[in-house]
Symmetry: C2
Subunit: 191 residues, 2 copies
């Protein structure tokens, strides 16, 4: 059994909490008024916008030691919608992993719109959640939760691949804003 903490109660946090509920694992959701509550999960999902991650690390870095930490962010420059705010040869996940050396940081969910996590489908097929990270056990632990909820988890590789996952997430957001794909759609990975 896994116990999952979700920091952030927005659309993505709620959708991931629903997914965990379907998986049969236990979940707690910590919102912005829960800064004093200690996270109890083995897996902690940072379901907040990238600019808010730094404060969470400052507040909770010690609590996250030894845990699987899941970065779901798309670090866009939301003023221009034309670039990311992380260095071109890095990724938000790499930056977070550097700031949390005692945690096992993985990327997941950033290529999924919230609606596709809630329904579990894109175009009538199971939603694929792409994962990246250097710790195979951490990826497996999260993949089991995702699979138990009826979605498909795909290991996209090591932490370096977070950069490409963030490019996919960025592109997908621009396509949805431009009405080239719907917020219930986006990219689906064929089997």
């Amino acid at each position: 059994m896994a116990h999952i903490s979700i920091i952030g109660s927005g659309n993505m946090g709620q959708a991931i909490a629903g997914l965990v509920g379907k998986s049969g694992e236990t979940v707690e959701v910590l919102g912005s008024s829960d800064a004093e509550r200690v996270v109890t999960g083995d897996i902690v999902v940072l379901a907040v916008p990238y600019p808010a991650v730094g404060q969470i690390i400052a507040q909770r870095g010690a609590q996250l030691a030894g845990k699987v930490v899941v970065d779901i962010t798309n670090p866009l420059d939301f003023e221009t919608f034309d670039s990311l705010v992380v260095p071109a040869d890095s990724s938000a996940t790499a930056e977070i992993a550097a700031a949390l050396p005692e945690s096992r940081v993985i990327k997941a969910f950033n290529t999924n719109f919230a609606a596709t996590l809630a329904t579990g489908t894109v175009n009538g097929r199971p939603t694929t959640v792409l994962l990246a990270g250097d710790d195979a056990d951490a990826k497996t632990a999260l993949a089991l939760v995702i699979s138990a909820a009826g979605l498909r988890a795909v290991d996209a590789g090591d932490l370096r691949r977070a950069r490409e996952l963030e490019a996919v997430g960025f592109l997908q957001l621009t396509l949805a804003v431009g009405e080239k794909t719907s917020w219930t759609g986006g990219f689906a990975l064929a089997d």
Copy 2:
């Protein structure tokens, strides 16, 4: 009517030639033994691996002036399969556009496996071809050919978005090599 030249007779060149044939436009395919033939198309598809593009530009740069030039490459380091060979803040398309200032260079087809261009479908839905480039007319000219062939063309934005298209192409290749998706599949964009 458009007339399309395809430089390169490999899997991708053949698949794109077949697509043009379905569209009702005219096509010529120039292979490696056709170095002396002058390209006659209004739209010229560089259907060769990225390392071969430099020689084509050296041979045919002057012929390509004024034409729409389509870059389909995924500039992977094929020895490591772990990075691209273009700078992290650039793209193959940007490099080619810089080398062909008299041409209207666009990115297309790099996020499509050849089989999905030949069949026109991914997971039973029309294959989506993502385009990027700074010349709207050039993108429209190619999009009309793609649409006439029964596939879906989606304008993903200006030339800067070629970087994200190359990240998608790179990721998709690593997923296919790792058997996480099939060579008849890959990423499909939901409506």
